[in-house]
Amino acid sequence: MTDHEPAPSPEEMLRLIEQQQTAAMRRFLPDPLLMYVPWGVAWFIGFGTLFLGQGLQGDGNGPLPITWQVGLAVLWGTQIIAFVLMIIALLRSGGHIKGESETRGAMYGLAWFIGFNAMAIIAARFVPVLQADMTGPFYTALFMLVAGLLYMAGGAIYRLWPQFLLGVWVVVVDVVGTVLGGGWIYLLLAVLGGGGAVTTGLWLRRHR
């Protein structure tokens, strides 16, 4: 039946191909808006709260009377929300594709899990000998280094330049914040790190 429909013009065929491929990508790839934007917002709010409590000196005398415990709780709370939204995006897109991509995704997910756990164990060994005001920046710097490296790796695995560049950006911001010292790392990660993740999500969504 469909075989006997009149063959459309080359323009129409080309448009058909493009429309169909866009539709397929949207259906089978996770929504970048949910993959990146919630993390950017979490970093903006979480690191922002830490900065407001700690101040540029990082000595706890920031513009607002917020303890580091509260700041850390806000950071973790918002990051857990971001994690849940990311999982929702992955579940919504997944399930239809079997094969190489599944293995690749599982390995990549495992890399995040192992990376963060290893980082936490290693950091915990060194934290007792650090000055008290260095503990927060130390954990933060390591945490975001692991995240940045894994974004780069993800960009390489999925051949996704924006994701790779986000990784580079996060690592650069992380290094600059650490070198400037004090509470700079919180300020820079909140504004530039969070802003970078939001921009990446919006860009990928617009161009998908």
């Binding site: 469909t2 063959a7 459309p8 399930g95 239809h96 094969g99």
Partner: protein, 102 residues
């Protein structure tokens, strides 16, 4: 000029099938229901087109079981991918020549 175009792919429904499968990475397969949804075709109609594509050696159909329910996966073969590449090249070439002579 149209006789240069691959007749297996040069039909809207099958072109959509091949274009969709071409977005998968090599080594991946797509579940039949997922393909059906994204194409907006009925299962029967899609099956007919898939058999034609399979006869041409463009797609590979794998039937397995998930527990007790049978699941069908579809993937483009290397030949299918090459045919799709050729087809898009031919279409673009046609457009280029058409653009030159109005």
């Amino acid at each position: 000029m149209n006789n240069e175009l691959d007749p297996v792919i040069h039909a809207q429904a099958r072109l959509k099938v091949v274009a969709t499968l071409n977005t998968l990475h090599a080594g991946d397969r797509l579940a039949f229901p997922g393909l059906k949804d994204v194409l907006g075709m009925t299962a029967g109609n899609l099956s007919v087109h898939l058999s034609k594509l399979e006869e041409a050696g463009y797609v590979e159909i794998t039937k397995t079981h998930k527990g007790r329910t049978p699941v069908t996966y579809v993937a483009l073969t290397q030949r299918g991918r090459a045919a799709f590449d050729e087809y898009t090249k031919a279409i673009r070439a046609l457009l280029d020549t058409a653009g030159g002579t109005p």
